[in-house]
């Protein structure tokens, strides 16, 4: 009887931990595929972006910005800011995988997403302490999301305009984000950050090239940074 779960068991647990999140991710992947084509991306570019960028909300933003003829520098800045939250996931995962060889670190960094991190954080909070094979759990969760995302975006690209437009599939992503954000709101500072970011996003929604999103996220971060300093 081994003391810790085997690599295969960890991997399978990672796949299973991520599976419920695919319910929200896969409809959104299909919507992304259709949106990309409607904004003038080629099917090849739309599919390649799912592997190269591998970030649902950022890919969605990219398509909207591309369709609006946004300058390249603004696009890269906004995508970078939108994905800056992954630095937090990177910081959380870093000490847990510090002992692994470089190839593992590169692969796990590539597979690091909101959903994978959410599955990992919940597992770490509830499961027995990580054994020597815990990185297989991370790989399982990451690969489950990666596969679901590639399949669903390919389905979206293939089906394209044949997807029924009266299905509100696009709403799956905001709901998934609500499911990820709400449990993160653990104190008043965090609640204030959520409310102010949302409010600024509404007020600045009229700005061109989605710059309102940039303004809202920066305002929220600044407020949190200030609040965390004041709380000390």
């Amino acid at each position: 009887m081994p003391l810790y779960p085997s690599a295969a068991r960890e991997f399978r647990a990672g796949l299973l931990a991520l599976a419920p999140l695919l319910v929200g991710v896969m409809p959104f992947g299909m919507i992304y595929g259709t949106l990309a084509l409607s904004q003038g991306l080629s099917p090849a570019a739309a599919l390649a972006m799912s592997s190269i960028l591998f970030a649902g909300s950022a890919q969605f933003l990219f398509c909207q910005l591309f369709g609006a003829g946004t300058p390249a520098l603004i696009t890269v800045t906004e995508v970078g800011l939108l994905n800056l939250r992954h630095a937090l996931y990177s910081a959380a995962l870093a000490p847990r995988i510090a002992h692994l060889p470089r190839r593992w670190k590169l692969v796990l960094a590539y597979l690091l997403t909101d959903e994978a991190y959410a599955a990992i954080a919940r597992h770490e909070a509830s499961a027995e302490p990580g054994g020597p094979h815990r990185h297989w759990f991370y790989l399982g969760a990451g690969l489950a999301l990666w596969s679901g995302w590639q399949l669903s975006t390919a389905a979206g690209v293939l089906l394209g305009a044949r997807l029924p437009t009266d299905w509100p599939l696009d709403f799956a992503l905001p709901l998934t984000f609500i499911a990820i954000v709400v449990p993160l709101i653990c104190d008043w500072t965090m609640l204030a950050v959520a409310l102010i970011s949302g409010l600024v996003a509404l007020l600045a929604a009229g700005l061109p090239f989605k710059l309102g999103l940039l303004a809202a996220a920066l305002t929220g971060m600044a407020l949190g940074w200030y609040g965390a300093g004041a709380a000390k």
Binding site: Y110, A194, A228
Partner: protein, 102 residues
């Protein structure tokens, strides 16, 4: 800039962000101010994405009980806070959306 270069630039930027702390662990110390900022980044960016989806589903502010996306979003917030389950949040949100927009 060609679209391929643009996709590559966004992809490299994102990968560098994801790799940042993993690669730097034990080698480079990030400034404490940046570490203090980190916990707020997901909440700030995701809230900024979600708010217009609920309150401006058609591009202008729609703060009323017949806004089905707002109702569905509120239900999702309640479910996320009480169950902490992604699945229940999605299911509840979509059920309310279906009922409210029927």
């Amino acid at each position: 800039m060609s679209i391929w270069l643009l996709i590559l630039a966004c992809g490299v930027t994102t990968f560098v962000i994801r790799l940042s702390f993993i690669a730097a662990e034990g080698k480079v110390a990030f400034p404490p101010g940046f570490r203090r900022l980190l916990p707020f980044v997901p909440v700030a960016t995701l809230s900024a994405l979600v708010a217009p989806e609920l309150l401006m589903p058609q591009g202008t502010l729609w703060l009323a009980w017949d806004n089905s996306r707002l109702l569905a979003g509120l239900m999702a917030i309640v479910l996320a806070a009480t169950t902490r389950s992604v699945l229940w949040t999605l299911v509840g949100g979509f059920i309310v959306l279906a009922i409210a927009s029927a």
